[in-house]
């Protein structure tokens, strides 16, 4: 299987281990990644927060590039990139004034046919049975809180992915590799996202609530699918008072561990909160 790959800016910076682990895991699952040529930033929160045209315009550039490369599917691991591109695709499809203007800037290209998928959908495509069959490690003692955040599932009318309020797609993957997903309350609550820099106090506060709820429900690891969520939950733990430290893993890292990939190769040494407590629980299958 071959899919287009749009790593997005964070994956060469703060989300470096996300990129590393994705490449390693997909190699094991026989998924070939074709990186989008000379891709550009999707515009992220800053673009749509300040200018609608800019946000759709920036994301569209990548969609058109994918079309040029004849990619049927474009995998965007970052939830924010995924969301922005899905939204941009939706707007282009609707043929709004903005869409017309953007099409004029791009030699009349109007529809972006490429299908944008997130990491959960990619794993679903690779096949849960396939992943299950390739699982080498015993993850029995691991209780995982799957954290979806905002942008994977919302707005449901556009993402059309899982359930906006009680999603379970990530839990299915966790179960497939033999770990135990926990039922908790904050899986779609916001971590504060892009306010990390301008309003650190908000992000610390919101992320703390998420971590506290996960711990309270017995989780010993939080699984994420977004570099922004990861940096807020992982990096900001140090600023939280009275909060138990809990490893925050990317979904790809977690699946990587299950498939028997070395944690360093997955980039897990790059975390700010130690991942040791979880690594101890990863046992070799008997």
């Amino acid at each position: 299987m071959k899919v287009g790959y749009y790593p997005g800016c964070s994956l060469s910076g703060t989300g470096k281990e996300y990129d590393l682990s994705i490449r390693k895991v997909l190699e094991k699952l026989d998924v070939e990644l074709a990186e989008l040529n000379d891709w550009s930033c999707c515009g992220a929160t800053s673009a749509h927060a300040t200018n609608h045209f800019l946000s759709i315009g920036l994301s569209s550039l990548n969609l058109f590039q994918a079309q040029k490369q004849n990619l049927e599917e474009l995998f965007a691991p970052c939830a924010a990139c995924y969301n922005r591109m899905v939204v941009a695709k939706d707007e282009l499809g609707k043929g709004t004034e903005t869409a017309k203007k953007i099409s004029a800037l791009n030699n009349g290209e109007s529809t972006a046919k490429v299908n944008i998928i997130n990491i959960i959908q990619l794993f679903e495509k690779a096949g849960l049975e396939n992943i299950s069959a390739k699982t080498k490690m015993n993850l029995k003692g691991i209780k995982a809180a799957c954290y979806y955040g905002c942008l994977l599932v919302r707005p449901f009318s556009i993402t059309k992915f899982d359930d906006a309020e009680q999603p379970v797609a990530m839990e299915k993957i966790i179960s497939a590799v033999g770990a135990e997903p926990v039922d908790w309350n904050y899986k779609v609550e916001c971590c504060g996202g892009a306010h990390s820099i301008a309003h650190k106090e908000i992000v610390v506060d919101l992320s703390k609530k998420i971590i506290d709820d996960a711990v309270k429900h017995g989780a010993n690891v939080i699984i994420v699918a977004c570099p922004m969520c990861h940096s807020n939950l992982d990096m900001r733990q140090r600023a939280m008072k009275d909060t138990a430290a809990i490893p925050v893993l990317y979904l790809s890292e977690f699946v990587g561990l299950a498939l028997g990939i070395d944690s360093k190769e997955l980039g897990m040494n790059l975390h700010f909160t130690s991942t040791e407590p979880i690594l101890e629980k990863v046992l070799v299958k008997e």
Partner: protein, 179 residues
């Protein structure tokens, strides 16, 4: 003729033009405010900002800090019983406020977005270090997070040089369009 042309000079009209939805759709149930994760940091609740626009209190809406505190998490939009996209509405309020050069309360948020977009404009990709540098110079908020930087650098999570997109002309075109 579309109805919005008649009141295009009002904030409600501009927002309708930008978002293709009428602010009158909102029936003020408050579900958006009830579920908003950053509600506790806001003076005006999200539904109050919509109310300002509905009633023509445009200054109140444009000067409110609420749109700038919005984390764009879309919880409101996905739960709105009237299918009103509140997050998109907030995007539009910010856009109009910037266009009108309103002296917004949440200067740091505004500067963060400017710094972020400047990096994209220059490099085609977000350049975290450059963005943070620019943001710090703009806000003079020099010491926030300094404790994290060395470790980030060490772990290779913060590159000192930007990753650049090779062909920048399309990015330029998009930015030129909004001048």
């Amino acid at each position: 003729m579309h109805a919005h042309n008649t009141h295009v000079e009002t904030l409600a009209g501009k927002i309708e033009e930008l978002t293709s939805q009428s602010v009158m759709q909102c029936y003020q149930c408050g579900k958006c405010s009830a579920g908003c994760p950053v509600r506790n940091y806001m003076e005006d609740s999200p539904n109050q900002v919509i109310r300002y626009v509905q009633l023509g209190f445009d200054d109140e809406a444009l000067h409110s800090s609420t749109p700038w505190l919005c984390a764009s998490c879309l919880t409101c939009s996905s739960r709105c019983p009237q299918n009103f996209d509140i997050a998109k509405f907030m995007d539009a309020v910010r856009e109009v406020a910037l266009e009108m050069e309103i002296d917004v309360k949440e200067k740091d948020v505004k500067k963060f977005h400017e710094a972020f977009l400047n990096q994209i404009k220059k490099n085609g990709k977000a350049f975290e270090f450059g963005m943070v540098r620019e943001y710090k110079l703009k806000t003079l908020n020099l010491f926030q997070d300094v404790e994290l930087f060395p470790e980030m650098l060490l772990k290779g999570k913060l590159s000192l040089l930007p990753h650049k997109k090779k062909d920048i002309k399309h990015i330029k075109k998009v930015f030129d369009e909004i001048k």
